[in-house]
């Protein structure tokens, strides 16, 4: 959060806003401390029902989406770090993504990082109907948990995880509400390793030039 405050200070005069949304079933109780500690001047919202993840088909945090002046998406879901504090785990360098944001704030739709409609459609296509059912199972799990049925919530969280195995949000939020080992027979680290490590957990942003460079053999 302090990292994003720095970016916001640099770009807020360029018709640029940050809207940061906490995906926390526990709401202010869990997310509040982070906000009061960092007291950012950009807008931070509390999303107990994970509505934004549901609407945008997000599967992890932090996720960034670029939205232009007309309310249209110009870059869809991708990992969004403001600094390198988790670099040891993620292996991600935040600089290319932050430079891309600055370029977009400056040039708008002329920025090379604003995606074409075709590419957006390709990236945003949801072909698996299970993903939709998974979101309902997760929503039911959240409702049951909050209405005093934590045990009854578990099979629905499990079903959401089974139907949308790519969603880390479904796993991590459920683990945080109970005990991963006891309730789900696993841990976060085990799941990341099973999936193929941190590169799968946080696929690097698809930035022009970036991946081509990395793939190039010396």
């Amino acid at each position: 959060m302090p990292g994003w405050q720095v970016i916001y200070q640099q770009l807020k005069d360029k018709n640029f806003e940050i809207l940061s949304v906490a995906q926390d079933t526990g709401g202010v109780k869990d997310a509040g401390k982070w906000i009061t500690d960092a007291h950012p001047t950009y807008t931070v919202l509390i999303d107990e029902k994970h509505l934004v993840s549901k609407l945008y088909n997000m599967v992890n945090v932090p996720t960034g989406v670029w939205i232009d002046e007309k309310g249209r998406i110009v870059r869809p879901n991708e990992v969004a770090f403001a600094d390198d504090r988790y670099k040891q785990f993620t292996g991600l360098d935040s600089a290319p993504y932050l430079n891309a944001i600055k370029d977009w704030a400056e040039k708008g739709e002329q920025s090379q990082f604003a995606m074409s409609e075709d590419k957006l459609r390709e990236k945003m296509a949801v072909n698996d109907p299970n993903i939709l059912v998974a979101s309902a199972e997760f929503g039911l799990g959240e409702y049951l948990y909050k209405s005093g049925h934590a045990t009854e919530a578990i099979p629905h969280f499990k079903e959401a995880q089974r139907l949308n195995p790519k969603s880390w949000n479904y796993k991590r939020q459920a683990y945080a509400l109970g005990d991963a080992k006891r309730d789900y027979g696993t841990t976060f680290v085990e799941e990341v390793n099973k999936a193929g490590g941190s590169k799968v957990y946080y696929p690097p942003p698809d930035l022009p030039g970036e991946n081509a460079q990395k793939d190039k053999k010396p």
């Binding site: 869990d30 919202l45 509390i46 999303d47 932090p62 998406i73 929503g139 409702y143 009854e152």
Partner: protein, 166 residues
């Protein structure tokens, strides 16, 4: 010998009516648009839930009108030939099959049998944003409870970020 003849339609109606009579009348909870409503008297049959049209309005704000099932400017016409799948009259009560309606509007449903809780997810009209590349709008509170919408920021470039404490 006297034979009683009933039109086929009547027999079908009688069959449906008797099946309905054996359905379990129960308390249930409907979570719709992430708002939960207790339903004092619902009819649950396997993976279907019927609620009265009065409860329908209370739980979903949808109402059955001649042109379809409507809320504000939104209206979903019911297929005429399949009317019985959605609506039944029983004495003074009108029953509405909320699960059949969910299937009609491509809305996912999750059900917990033990607690009789039914969760209804995003309808197709709430998901159209993504195919049009328009960013789906939402309204959520900040830490002080003040509400903000994505659309409040129209005219500006917005970096939408999600994060979590966990």
């Amino acid at each position: 010998m006297m034979r009683l003849r009933f039109p086929a339609g009547f027999l079908l109606f009688a069959l449906i009516a008797s099946a309905f009579a054996t359905a379990k009348e129960t308390r249930a909870t409907v979570v719709y648009d992430d708002v939960s409503t207790d339903i004092a008297s619902a009819n649950e049959e396997a993976d279907q839930i019927w609620i009265t049209t009065t409860d329908l309005k209370q739980a979903t704000r949808f109402e059955v009108k001649p042109q379809g099932v409507c809320r504000d400017v939104l209206c979903f016409p019911l297929p005429k030939a399949r009317h019985n799948e959605f609506l039944r009259k029983e004495g003074a009560k009108s029953w509405f099959n909320l699960t059949a309606f969910a299937a009609l509007v491509h809305q996912p449903v999750a059900h917990d049998a033990g607690t009789s809780a039914w969760y209804f997810g995003l309808r197709s009209d709430q998901r159209q944003g993504l195919s049009s590349l328009q960013a789906p709008d939402f309204t959520l509170p900040d830490i002080n409870g003040k509400m903000h919408s994505l659309s409040d920021f129209r005219g500006k470039k917005v970096l939408l970020l999600t994060w979590a404490s966990w």
